[in-house]
């Protein structure tokens, strides 16, 4: 991108950001296939310049959501707006959205350059300008030397970058990525994740990214929406989704979680006093803004394995339970211990340092965690 272009773009974005003209607002989106709800009341805003990931298992509705925004699927109810203008019913070709499919969907009969220039050709951009912009985009993704090849002559990673260039060259309102890294092998994927994030940051394009890979979502996203059974369970920054999961599903889907049944004694919406299954009392953070039970109700507390630690008998802790040490796995950088407590098996991970000596199996141990590390989850509806 030349200096002039970046000025123009950032100026356009600055004005766009001010009035949200380039935001994509999804409200009350629903889709039914027969009797099954593929989507149920999905709401979110893809803010201008944001990298938002829809994360969920297959069948959670994330690809359907993407298809509706792209215009390939008609919703049964709800609305999708760019700025204040609804795009429902508008054919995909008028939506100005760049899409990268998992299969890349390159035009196999066209050269790499012709693939990238396709969108400009459809927009009747003059040949000279088309060539210039296509070439620049290929340079950006590092494929300038491959312009005259056909897609079949490229590796998977290169094809993926051609697909990205083809989608970006039209200056799309947003980039929609449908599991774009799914076909790449593990090592290449991590490299592409970083590249992709870099390109997004440089161009400032909004990205809606669909994946079932939590690591991919964590690395690239500004925010992520965790989807399950056609609903968004939680939408927040990766850090907050991991640290403060709002539901059992989110806690389990993202990393490992110890889920403890509790009786809620007090709940002021920020902090709760709870009783664990063994009768011991503790204080936890109230994770979800809504839907947690008041005093006297049943609830679930999530504690991440790395947030629990082995405590001595005299250590004062906001939460502490006693249990029996079961086993320990050495994983190099960390240790993964299993402790039988509260009528279930708890996972405790601790970093490998000299001070830590693994208890004998069968030994009585005490586990403790801070109030900030226990999250009272929303009740299941």
């Amino acid at each position: 991108m030349t200096v002039d272009d970046s000025k123009v773009t950032s100026a356009a974005r600055a004005t766009g950001a001010a009035d949200g003209a380039r935001d994509i607002n999804v409200t009350g989106l629903g889709k039914r296939y027969g009797a099954a709800h593929a989507l149920h009341d999905v709401n979110f805003t893809l803010r201008d310049g944001e990298f938002l990931t829809l994360l969920g298992p297959s069948g959670s509705g994330k690809t359907t959501t993407l298809g509706i925004i792209a215009g390939f699927v008609d919703p049964d109810y709800g609305d999708v707006q760019v700025g204040a203008r609804s795009i429902i019913g508008m054919p995909p070709r008028r939506r100005n959205l760049g899409i990268v499919f998992q299969s890349y969907a390159l035009f196999p009969h066209l050269s790499v350059a012709a693939n990238v220039e396709f969108g400009l050709r459809m927009r009747k951009v003059p040949a000279a300008e088309r060539e210039r912009r296509g070439k620049r985009m290929l340079e950006r993704v590092g494929l300038a030397d491959f312009a005259q090849r056909t897609p079949a002559q490229l590796s998977g990673g290169q094809q993926q970058r051609v697909a990205l260039a083809r989608a970006l060259v039209i200056n799309p309102t947003a980039l929609l990525l449908d599991e774009p890294l799914g076909a790449l092998d593990r090592r290449l994927r991590q490299q592409v994740e970083i590249e992709l994030k870099g390109i997004q940051r440089e161009t400032g394009v909004s990205v809606l990214h669909v994946t079932h890979d939590q690591e991919e979502a964590m690395i690239m996203s500004d925010r992520m929406a965790v989807m399950n059974a056609g609903r968004i369970e939680q939408i927040d920054t990766p850090t907050n989704v991991y640290k403060y999961p709002s539901t059992r599903f989110v806690a389990n889907f993202l990393g490992e979680a110890n889920l403890l049944d509790v009786n809620v004694r007090e709940n002021d919406g920020a902090r709760a006093i709870v009783n664990y299954a063994d009768g011991s009392s503790g204080a936890v953070h109230v994770s979800s803004a809504h839907g947690t039970g008041g005093s006297g109700s049943q609830g679930t507390v999530c504690v991440r394995p790395e947030r629990m630690h082995f405590a001595s008998d005299d250590e004062v802790a906001e939460n502490a339970v006693c249990g029996t040490f079961v086993s320990c796995l050495y994983l190099g950088a960390s240790l993964r211990c299993i402790v039988q407590a509260l009528g279930q098996e708890l996972i405790v991970t601790c970093s490998d340092h000299a001070a830590f000596t693994s208890p004998e199996p069968g030994a009585l141990v005490r586990l403790a965690w801070d109030a900030a590390d226990g999250q009272l989850l929303a009740n299941e509806s």
């Binding site: 215009g71 070709r93 899409i99 299969s103 969907a105 459809m122 697909a163």
Partner: protein
Amino acid sequence: MMALRTIGPDVSGQSSVRAAAVAARRGRWGNLLWLLPVLALYAAGLVLPLGITVRRAFELGAAGWSDLLHNSLFTGAALNTVIDSTGITVVAVLLAYSLAAAIWRGGAIARASLTTLVVIAFLTTVLVKIVAFNALLRDNGVLNTLLQALGVIDGPLHLFPGRPAMIVAMVQYVVPFAIFPILSVMVRLDKRVEQAAESLGASPWHVFVHVVLPLTLPGVIAAALLVFVICTGFYVIPATLGTPRDQLLANVVALYALQLVDFRVASAVAMVLVVVVGVLTVLYQRAERATR
């Protein structure tokens, strides 16, 4: 000595190499054994008569060949064959393309019913079709009666016997052949490639021209070559639905062989056909391979 060496432990790996060679040889001969009946049939039914044909054709000599090239029966039929085959190929491939697209894009019911219709047309013997076209297209046939009853025409259109009836029947005969190579390419087209084009701003027409058509072109070429080859071999349809002036090369072969009993000229004409068909068949097989 040899026996001892092969029974002994395999130190050098030689015996296993030898075993593989034996197995390969046995596999080759085993295959040949299975092919023997077919090979015998081909030798007796194709190679031998073809050889005789070639020999007969050369018995004609240079003067005979020169005569043939000035024989209006031959040149007329050759011209008919080229013109009719070309026209039929173009029309049939266009029809087949639209029909294949309808099957490809249709819902489950449309797909199943259209496919069934195509297969029925495909399997109906040509004689039944000839009788049907006769009933449909003759002067007092269904079409003329209908058009006259509607007042569209005053007198009957002379469609049969003649080129119109012949061409309609030949097109109808070859369309099913053209559908399958085209359809087989269409069904393998990735829907997402079209969606990508749409998302990049392509209208339905542009998606067709820039994506669908180029990607299905191998199927079109294969279909066209297949249809052309079939057309060059038409005999029954021109013989029954055409006038003497509409006859094709295969009919000239029959005329010389069966009525004029001049096997040398018959062989010469047949050889011209065989060479043309042979070249086209090689091209077809290449095109067909490209569709995979």
